[in-house]
Structures are given as structure tokens and as C-alpha cells.
């Protein structure tokens, strides 16, 4: 056998081997991915699966492609949970609430057999605000702060204000000084009407800043409102004060 023929044989062998081996390997990989094989619908409805990968129920009245109302969906998820509890009577179900209230929790909400993780303080009357989780509160605070920061950005930026002479609010109102949002509403002779904070914001944008007044739903006006009010946090309201 010459070197060249030998080399050719080895190459063919390698290619054939790869052709057989690789597909098998990929197949094995795909079968390692978790999947929930739902049983087929028997009564013409839609089979809904629980996130544990095992439990499912058929919603007989639901046609494929049909959308459930919030109440219907809640009823279906309750039914799924009830079925799961039937099969795991000894397990303690950790609600999503308790799970996500722990900083750094990594277990998915569907894990069974969880016990002893701290739950939030028991609600007394069970109203919405009692049931706010620490996570929800944190998100609310972050969103509010972010919005106020947007307002601060605009407050300091002639272009974002739509000004035409390079003037921005901070140049007369550093840190929002002398904006006194707590004194509105008040009758402003010069405007011939009872003014709200946003009326003054728009007056300033139109006059010293030389831009166009912002519409009532303009996100910039709302953000400016938020920033200016935030700077006076804790100041007593005193509408009508000049």
C-alpha cells in the first residue's frame, strides 16, 4: 500500500465515522433537553400542563386557539394545582411570593418538597398593599427613581426640553431650587388662570427656554413633574402660597 492510498483510506474512514457518529451525538443531546410531553386531548378540548413536567388537565370547553379570560385561566391553574397537591399530599408548596421574596433564591417556583423557607409576614386583612412582596416594592422604588432621573436629565438639557437658545431649567433652578411645587394650584395673575405646576413648567419652556410647550401626555412633562416634586419631598403642601 502506498502512502497516498493509505492516507486516502484513513480520510474516508474518518469521514464515514463522523457521518455516523455526529448525528447520534446530536440526537442524544436533544433528548437531554427537558420537555413535557402532554397527553393528547380526548374530549376535544385543550390540554394544559403544569410546570412540574408531569401534571396536566384537559380543559374540555376550551377550543384550540381560543383565549381564556383572566378568571377562567385562574380557575384552570387552580385545578392544576389541586391535582398536583393530590399527588404530593406531604409536600409543602412554596408560593411564588415566598420564593421571590428571598434575595438570591435560585430554586424555581415549581420545585416540590420545599419546606421551611421564610414566607412574608402574614397578611392581616389581605388587601393588595399588605401583600406587596419586598421584591415588588423594590421594583416599584427602582422604577420611580428611574423616572425621576429621566426628569432630572431633561431638566438639565436644553435639547431635550426643545429649547432653542441653549438654556435649561437648572440654570435658574439649580437642584430644582425655587420651583416650589407645593404651592400649586394658585391663581397666577400673569397667566389669568389658576396655575398648576405643569402650567409653570410649560410657561418656562415657552418663555426663557424658548421651546414649544409640552402636551399633557408628553412623557417629558410627566418626568419633569416627577423630578421637581421629588426635590421637595417632605415639604408641607401649601397651595395658593405666593
Amino acid at each position: 500500500m502506498t502512502m497516498r492510498r493509505g492516507f486516502l483510506l484513513i480520510s474516508i474512514g474518518t469521514l464515514l465515522g463522523a457521518a455516523i457518529y455526529l448525528p447520534l451525538r446530536l440526537q442524544a443531546a436533544s433528548s437531554q433537553l427537558a420537555s413535557h410531553s402532554l397527553p393528547p386531548a380526548e374530549a376535544g378540548g385543550v390540554v394544559v400542563g403544569l410546570c412540574d413536567g408531569e401534571t396536566s388537565i384537559e380543559v374540555r370547553w376550551l377550543k384550540p386557539g381560543q383565549r381564556m379570560t383572566r378568571e377562567q385561566a385562574r380557575a384552570v391553574s387552580n385545578a392544576l394545582m389541586a391535582k398536583w397537591r393530590q399527588r404530593h399530599s406531604n409536600a409543602e408548596w412554596q408560593t411564588a411570593q415566598a420564593q421571590t421574596s428571598q434575595p438570591g433564591a435560585t430554586q424555581p417556583a415549581a420545585q416540590q418538597g420545599q419546606a421551611g423557607a421564610t414566607a412574608p409576614a402574614a397578611a392581616i386583612q389581605g388587601g393588595v398593599y399588605e401583600r406587596l412582596t419586598p421584591r415588588e416594592q423594590k421594583i416599584a422604588d427602582l422604577e420611580t427613581t428611574k423616572f425621576i432621573e429621566e426628569g432630572k436629565e431633561i431638566f438639565h438639557n436644553p435639547d431635550k426640553l426643545g429649547g432653542t437658545i441653549g438654556l435649561s431649567c437648572d440654570m435658574c433652578h439649580p437642584d430644582g431650587a425655587n420651583t416650589h411645587p407645593e404651592t400649586y394650584p394658585k391663581f397666577q395673575t400673569q397667566l389669568q388662570r389658576v396655575a398648576l405646576l405643569r402650567d409653570m413648567i410649560n410657561w418656562c419652556i415657552e418663555n426663557p427656554v424658548k421651546g414649544k410647550p409640552l402636551g399633557p401626555d408628553d412623557p417629558r412633562l410627566r418626568a419633569l413633574d416627577a423630578y421637581i416634586i421629588a426635590q421637595r419631598n417632605g415639604t408641607a403642601l401649601a397651595y395658593g402660597k405666593h
Binding site: P174, D175, A177, N178, P208
Partner: protein, 233 residues
């Protein structure tokens, strides 16, 4: 006299071409008059890769906290010490500066970082008056032997700072935003013998207010002007 708007586009190149050195002095009828460059700033722009325009825009802002605090600086203080070394401690001194040569409100750069050192240089001299700009409001202070008068702006007024307002300051009445000239004005300084100075605030469309030398020297006990009806928010 240099202010930050004159300086930070080209770091004073054009200004000095036109007007010469930013700090200088002369004698006038027995008073030693000094113009002191007090708005130097430590480099805040190089690390941030700012263009000259961006640098100028930054110093134009009051509350951005990016620019450095104003200072006379070591070279300026050396110059002042040498300059004042030529006169007797009895000679009345009148200093013009842009920033107040004391510490009023740091977040807005109503401030001179080395004010304490500058005041120490001025301490041996019996009669010192500082007339400054930058704050755009009626402002009065007295520290030791030094009287301070802030000048009005002819362009627009500024609110009083939430903290740091000198006790001796009589606030100007609240500005009417709908009148673009309200709380603006010019002024006059009457220099009496011995370099004792009365400051007359000429607020446009308002009654003038006089802050006498005696008012400051007596810590507000004498010649006290009336307070306005509406103080700052």
C-alpha cells in the same frame, strides 16, 4: 475681571490677549485696589475627554457637581501675598473677585475652595472689602476684618441657597418670573475716607437697598435694612 464664562473655552487665552494678566492691582486715592482671579479650577475635563465646548457648558451649570470648586490657587495666593506685602497694614484694601472669597454653598460653586487661606493673607490688614459677582443676588457677609458684598446680575437672579446663607444677608424680595428684569439691577459703592464702603443695590423697578459699612461692622446691630415681605422658599 475674569469669570468662568470668560475663561474655560480657551483657558483664558483670548481674555489675556485683550486685557492682560487676570490678577492686577493699582492704588486709588489712598485705597489699594486689587482684581483677583478666583475662578481657577482643577482639571476635571481631561479625564472625561471633554471638548472645549463641553468644558464651557459644564462650568455654565450650577448643580452638575462635575466641575471642580473655584479657587484662587497657589500661584494666585502667592501673587496676592507679594502684592499686599508692598503696602502697610493700615492701607484700606478693596478686592474685586468673581466668586465670593468665602464658603457659601459648595454644591452650587457659590464658593472659593481656598477661601480660608486667602482670608488669612488678608487678616493683618485693618480694612478689607471684597466685592464679588457670581451669585446674582443681594448678599452680604462679614468675616473678621473683611466685609463682603455680592453684586446683582443685570441678566437674571439666582435663588438663595438652601444652606450656607450668611446671617448678615438681607434677602432681596422674591423675583417675579414673569418680569424678566425683576431682581436684577446694578449697583454703586460709595467709598468713604479710610476705605469704608457702603453698597447701594439698585434693583430695577424696586426701591434701592443700602448696606452700610456700619451694618456689617456692627454685626447687624446698626443700620439694619428692613427684611422683605417674602423670603426665599
Amino acid at each position: 475681571m475674569v469669570d468662568e464664562h470668560d475663561w474655560f473655552l480657551d483657558m483664558g487665552e483670548m481674555w489675556q490677549q485683550l486685557f492682560g494678566p487676570p490678577s492686577y492691582s493699582f492704588d486709588w486715592k489712598g485705597v489699594h485696589v486689587v482684581t483677583l482671579m478666583s475662578v481657577n479650577e482643577k482639571d476635571f475635563w481631561t479625564a472625561r475627554h471633554m471638548s472645549p465646548d463641553e468644558r464651557m457648558h459644564t462650568v455654565a451649570g450650577l448643580d452638575n457637581g462635575v466641575q471642580s470648586r473655584f479657587e484662587v490657587g497657589e500661584a494666585g495666593r502667592e501673587w496676592l501675598k507679594n502684592d499686599l506685602g508692598k503696602i502697610s497694614t493700615d492701607t484700606p484694601i478693596l478686592i474685586f473677585s468673581h466668586s465670593p472669597l468665602y464658603k457659601y454653598h459648595r454644591p452650587w460653586n457659590f464658593w472659593t475652595e481656598d477661601a480660608d487661606e486667602v482670608q488669612q493673607i488678608l487678616q493683618p490688614y485693618k480694612t478689607v472689602t471684597v466685592i464679588h459677582g457670581h451669585t446674582h443676588q443681594m448678599l452680604s457677609n462679614r468675616i473678621g476684618n473683611i466685609s463682603f458684598h455680592g453684586m446683582l446680575s443685570t441678566a437674571w437672579p439666582w435663588p438663595y441657597a438652601p444652606e450656607g446663607l450668611p446671617k448678615l444677608t438681607i434677602q432681596m424680595d422674591r423675583a417675579d418670573p414673569f418680569d424678566q428684569f425683576d431682581a436684577c439691577g446694578n449697583g454703586r459703592f460709595n467709598v468713604a475716607e479710610g476705605g469704608l464702603i457702603d453698597a447701594v443695590y439698585n434693583l430695577w423697578d424696586r426701591n434701592p437697598v443700602t448696606i452700610t459699612y456700619r451694618y456689617l461692622a456692627s454685626s447687624g446691630a446698626e443700620d439694619r435694612p428692613s427684611a422683605p415681605k417674602l423670603l426665599s422658599y
